[in-house]
Amino acid sequence: MDVRQADIVIVGGGGAGLRAAIAAAEANPQLDILLLSKVYPMRSHTVAAEGGCAGVIQPHDSLDAHFDDTVSGGDWLCDQDVVDYFVRHATEENLRLEHWGCPWSRKPDGSINVRAFGGMKIERTWFAADKSGFHILHTLFQTSLKYPSIRRCDEYFCTDLLLEGGACAGIQAIDMRTGSHTLIAASAVILATGGAARVYRYNTNGGIVTGDGMALAYRQGVPLRDMEFVQYHPTGLPGSGILITEAARGEGGVLTNRDGYRYLQDYGLGPETPLGEPKNKHMELGPRDRLSQAFWHEAQAGRALATSRGEAVNLDLRHLGEARINERLPFIRDLARTYVNVDAVHEPIPVRPTAHYTMGGIQTDRYTATALSGLFAAGECASVGLHGANRLGSNSLAELSVFGRVAGEQAAARASQGPSVDPQRLLARAQDNAAVWEALRESTGNERLATIRDEMARAMEDGAGIFRLPGQMRQTCTKVAELKDRYSDLGLVDRSRAFNTEWLNAIELGYLLDVAEAMAHAALARQESRGSHQRPEDFPQRDDAQFLKHSLVYRAADAPRLDWQDVVITRSQPAERHYGAAGQQENKS
């Protein structure tokens, strides 16, 4: 066992992890910061975010408007103090990224340009063409190289959090090159491991997005919050699930069904807006949950297109013209051409909803602290209380910077108070943990990894998808329990250590199963329909009396234990969510 020590360990090298590392390094240059990730930082899935990053900048926009859009978009399940903090700091963070070199798209006069996004009343989405996440991630990675106190452990796979005296005192990880175990003691640990949409079969996420941090925290008794809220992005490519950004609609793209009809007007998002004149919070610029749900109804009614890659609707960009598509959406054009053989300039792109984002995650307070002292979480793996029941597009990239920075500063404050625990005191436990992973590597059971993974992904699609029916939800809970059971009878083939990806995938599958369990049980417990959690058969309405609460899932021996936490409401009382003409009516009144 390789034994090391650091002041702060950050698990995950995506947007949140890198921003946290930089914040910690700036807060106290004396601190030894270790950024550990199972991939090189620029591989992290932040890289695949396309559309943009929210932040109020136009003179006729306001923080209040961003607050209102976020809170109503989240169906009032957002913690409003957190939203307040977020909207106040998003622009500042976007500007800081600009100062670090992020090539935000500009207006001809050289000032920052912004585009329209779903559910946002005023254009406030900063963008770098349609590769915003890519540019943010690479800017952060490259900027992080400036700080000598940030050391990296690239391709180290975190397997456990290590506790001492009731506090998180370090982590342990597998060095993927050699397959050896490493213990790192630290005064503060930040989890920034991203989401978990790989529990679903069709998703926009990379193969690495397996809920590692969520499961690591969950296994130490930290509750996962609001896990039932999983966002389906309305426009993924059929078959692969590859993301086609909301910016395609922000720039004026329209959705049509088999008959060429802009069906969204039938789902409370109309009236139909003229072609080439997208209107905020109308039609294609409605929120993601509503758009994904509308697709489901269209497909049920037989009005979706049958393609060789499954059912889809058309995303039509043709009226934007080649020049604008090349300027604003070059990556989308490339993706459509490569993966569905469609040139968006001449043909509509077939799209369908695919699992995209976990609104929930590791419960943290507004300062990113988890229930476990010494452990912080930021980014998609965390539930800081920002997104509620449905995230608005472009809020998550801003979240990475705003709360990544908070996490870095909080961890630095803690680490500055004292050195980490003597790693020798963690060694015995780490060796026990390592023995468990070694046993997994040598496991000779009867179950195959790919089979369990695929069955899980199918079960989650069935029972925790866009619409959730009572029978299927219960079946999914049972199925996940069964799969967890079968997981303990896993048989692996690869006995080697160097870059044994079968072994690492098996550990990831364990993480995925824990997250799937939390999602399925939280979904079953929330007996209402809110945001992305829709139960049209048994509980079609929102129920503020009972469920204006965050769900908390705790790990327990047989089935997880559920609890509830009050939502922080400061100035926006729950109301009905209105988009399209109804929303405008409401604004006037």
Binding site: H99, G207, S240, L449, D494
Partner: protein, 251 residues
């Protein structure tokens, strides 16, 4: 009977093998199947001991670079349909890098080179964020836009015979990144970065083979970046020579 395609995959298991070898698999063909899908099919259904890197499967994370029939490619952006004429598709680890295992290359040398060239925005005077954004017109952005598209996949290093000959060469990706900042109107660090361009391991190892730009999946054109760097380094050399002749120190 479904149609199958023969995929020959390079294997190297450091604990057992002394040198790489080739293993053949039959993969069910479909029009949409990428090389990455084929590798995942092999790993899931045929041989779980095969190791390869991948993540986003949409050609943006840069993980999945391999040699496909001797050409550096992103496996997620390369399709079996383009190799149907050929008897088999051969997939190897990227050229010029050490092989960790199977298709997994050790790219740490490349990452070290990236870190060397000071790839961050350098200002003589840092403006506070409260003062707003540094202005930059779309035209100014266009000057470095292509060089900012690099996904660090390493295909250009696998394509570069000079890097293959001497791994100390900073190489296409790192030098393109240096130029990405040098050409950014907000940056004032070109003078600091000049030392890396000026070195024998910098732009001067390049002989303009140009294959790096051909294989780049993001049209970064690193060959252009390096050769524009040669012009800059050339001018810098002359200025430095003049300074020495005038009795000033070697810059």
């Amino acid at each position: 009977m479904t149609e199958t395609v023969t995929v020959r995959v390079q294997r190297y298991r450091p604990e057992e093998d002394t040198a790489p070898w080739e293993q053949s698999f039959e993969v069910p063909y479909s029009e949409d199947l990428s090389i990455l899908d084929a590798l995942n099919q092999i790993k899931d259904q045929q041989d779980p001991t095969l190791s390869h890197r991948w993540s986003c499967r949409m050609a943006i994370c840069g993980s999945c670079g391999v040699m496909v029939n001797n050409e550096p490619k992103l496996s997620c952006k390369t399709f079996l349909r383009d190799y149907r004429e050929q008897a088999a598709v051969t997939v190897r680890a990227l050229d010029n890098f050490p092989i960790e295992r199977d298709l997994v290359s050790d790219i740490s040398g490349f990452i070290d080179h990236l870190e060397t060239v000071q790839p961050w925005l350098i200002r003589s005077e840092e403006q506070p964020v409260s003062a707003g954004a540094y202005p930059q017109t779309p035209e100014q952005m266009q000057r470095y836009a292509a060089f900012s598209q690099c996904i660090n996949c390493g295909l250009c290093y696998a394509a570069c015979p000079q890097f293959g000959r001497d791994p100390a060469f900073l190489g296409p990706g790192a030098l393109a990144l240096a130029q990405r900042y040098n050409l950014d109107s907000r940056d004032e660090g070109a003078a600091q970065r000049m030392q890396w361009l000026n070195a024998g391991e910098g732009v001067w190892s390049c002989t303009f083979v140009g294959y790096c730009s051909e294989v780049c999946p993001k049209d970064v054109d690193p060959a252009a970046a390096i050769n524009r760097g040669k012009v800059a380094s050339d001018i810098n050399y002359a200025v430095n020579l003049l300074n020495i002749l005038r009795g000033k120190d070697d810059a």
